[in-house]
Subunit: 207 residues, 2 copies
């Protein structure tokens, strides 16, 4: 992320990590980056902030990349075919969607702020494109393994994964972030995804 | 839309409409608002532009509102239960989703630009919230009438409409805007929505 002379040393990498996490928490709490507040949270100085981030935009890009890395890890670990085999499709998706809403709730402002810079920041567009491709690979693996185990219907694996990912991207929306667990909207989101993925014999399952 | 001294007279309203349409086409073609280019397209002057829009942000808000009005009208007219009764669920959704993708393709940059101003413009947030509520009312009516005609499954009408609308909001995405008609991704999007809405007896329909 940008030119950082120190990233090759372990100590600088640790400072950067601490700063990036401070940028994320500052954005979530305050809605924007403030060098002074980030430095306070990271236990360092504003000068150090500017040493690592040449501008607020670069700081947002760093926070966005860290949030996207967490999202990719979330998809990799939580979209777990073993858990799916254990739980049946609808209960699995109930839990998975709810945890995904929680992830978006915790990172909502970072995503919104990155989105607001999307048009003018090539760096943020690149992060989005590359991390989305990583997330898609995990969706695809989940669908493929579910198909092999006959708990997800046959079909175009790549396109099914892509449709599933596109749906999940819409969850960073106030209506979803404020919905109640097992409330009407949550149940419909689960039902829609279950109906999309279920093998023909399972489509009569109650949602 | 901001303070405009002339909006009560028919001529000023016509000029404003022409300017707003010029703002929309300028944004779609050039990616940003330029007063000179908008004025040229509207057959007027930059001074007139600034007479109607105190800033570029106000001009984007005007273009965004016009695009949202068109989106609401699109949902109202194209999500037509008579056509659904005529065509069966999957073929109806195939045509409807494809026309919706076309709508987003034509208005994609205006939506992206409005999104980039969302956090700092209370006016754009208000437009989004109010027009979204209007669109949702049309989705809800469609689901309700489809349920009465037994071509959409029973369920929580409001939540089904909301889930459908949230899914459609995700279609302003490069992967969707560049997909082929009846290609793999388009078919999955149709299949997912049909599986969500179909009555139990229809869920075995081929997508």
């Amino acid at each position: 992320m940008g030119a950082e002379p120190h990233t090759n040393t372990g100590r600088a990498a640790k400072t950067r990590l601490r700063l990036v996490e401070a940028v994320r928490s500052t954005i979530e709490d305050e809605g924007a980056v403030s060098a002074g507040e980030v430095a306070r949270r990271a236990g360092t100085s504003s000068a150090t902030f500017y040493n690592y981030f040449e501008s607020h935009e670069v700081a947002v890009a760093g926070a966005f990349d860290a949030a996207m890395v967490d999202l990719v890890a979330f998809v990799e670990h939580e979209l777990d075919v073993a858990e799916l085999l254990d739980a049946e499709l609808t209960p699995f998706l109930e839990g998975w969607t709810w945890r995904a809403f929680g992830f978006f709730r915790e990172n909502s402002v970072v995503f919104d702020l990155a989105r607001s810079l999307h048009l003018r920041s090539p760096e943020i567009r690149t992060i989005y494109r590359e991390r989305e491709a990583e997330a898609l690979a995990h969706y695809t693996r989940f669908v493929r393994l579910g198909q092999r185990a006959s708990v997800i219907r046959d079909g175009d694996t790549d396109a099914m994964a892509e449709a599933m990912m596109l749906t999940s991207q819409g969850w960073n929306h106030p209506r979803v972030l404020s919905c109640e667990r097992n409330g009407a909207l949550h149940c419909e989101i689960v039902h829609a995804m279950a109906a999309h993925l279920a093998p023909p014999s399972k489509q009569g399952d109650p949602a």
